[in-house]
Symmetry: C2
Subunit: 217 residues, 2 copies
């Protein structure tokens, strides 16, 4: 019997919180963004999201997974109604403020005010952005899928604008997230900074893997 092996015979009997912590970590390091939305009343909202993935480059598209609608999901409802949101990359200097936005505040309370993050409006975009974030995206919903497995909801979002504060893309288009002090999420409430490892040449059969030296610090 392999003591490192876990199956449903183990986890079905685990405490619910223990299982949540464990299962939220096994999917690896996750991107971390604050979603800014606006209620029809004008109240602004910020929610912390790590279930975000790249979908396509042209048109630029991302997807975000919402938990089942068993309780009020302010970001979900605002996004659906206003058809606009911002995604703001969380960086190390703003991390503890961002973490506070994962708390369940009542709808009339603005997470901007509670967390001390600064509301900012980019051009004519109605959804609020986070001034402290080094990378802000303006997104519009284009598609919604309900996952039958557990009633979570995948929203596919088209990126309408991108704002980079303090960095430009490199010659090949690459954007070094470590220079932006980007944070990744590890499970439910732990976070890690990025330490550089390697940038490689495009992998080809028969060619040894080669590091792009200029990238290594």
């Amino acid at each position: 019997m392999d003591s490192n092996l876990y199956t449903s015979l183990d986890w079905d009997g685990w405490d619910k919180q223990f299982r949540r912590y464990f299962m939220n970590a096994v999917s690896g390091p996750k991107p971390l963004f604050l979603m800014g939305t606006k209620h029809s009343s004008g109240a602004s909202n910020l929610g912390l999201f790590s279930n975000i993935m790249h979908v396509g480059a042209h048109p630029p598209t991302v997807a975000v997974l919402f938990r089942p609608l068993t309780v009020a999901r302010h970001s979900y409802h605002n996004l659906k109604e206003q058809k606009q949101a911002t995604l703001n990359l969380v960086s190390e200097p703003m991390l503890s403020k961002a973490h506070l936005c994962s708390a369940s505040f009542p709808e009339e309370v603005s997470e901007f005010k509670e967390s001390g993050l600064t509301e900012e409006y980019i051009e004519s975009w109605d959804a609020p952005a986070v001034q402290q974030s080094p990378l802000q995206l303006g997104v519009m919903p284009v598609e919604e899928h309900r996952l039958e497995a557990n009633k979570t909801i995948l929203f596919v979002l088209r990126v309408e604008w991108i704002r980079l504060n303090g960095l430009s893309p490199e010659r090949d288009g690459f954007l070094d997230l470590q220079k932006l002090e980007a944070v990744s999420a590890n499970g439910l409430d732990a976070y890690a900074g990025m330490k550089p490892v390697s940038k490689f040449l495009y992998a080809k059969p028969g060619r040894p893997v080669e590091a792009v030296d200029s990238f290594i610090p």
Copy 2:
């Protein structure tokens, strides 16, 4: 005019490769796994995936996004036919070998052999796992969604077993991915290690954000 602001007026005119690099980076740090599958001929396959997300804790469920089926997608076809795969967390010591698995090898070539990674079979699971990986998952497809936005395919996968090599979950279920030397992907061909930042107490309205001290090194 805000020189840090990019819209389709900019990126529609960009070189395709530049745009791919840039857009693959703006969605933040990504999890990195090798997917092990088996062809009906018995040939084993390894593919490198960063478009993976946590879907649910009970039953444990993840999702992986496949590129459009415009060229042969070995992992996709094997997963669909065999209804089994493994997901193997990529760690720093195995990174350059894992990167090589992103190359387009012909179907009859095993990426295990080409990369020097070791094929391993966990109990009666038919899909091959990667022995060097510190965290291996056995997954089964339960649902498939085609995203209309760009014909990518989201596969929802139920986790059937989890194998942890060299680490146990902490008392609360937390799994410290940094101790596993987990790697995150930054865009298409750059990767970062994890540097510890903070583990916080569960956020509640009105309570200051508090770090869990024992976690900070």
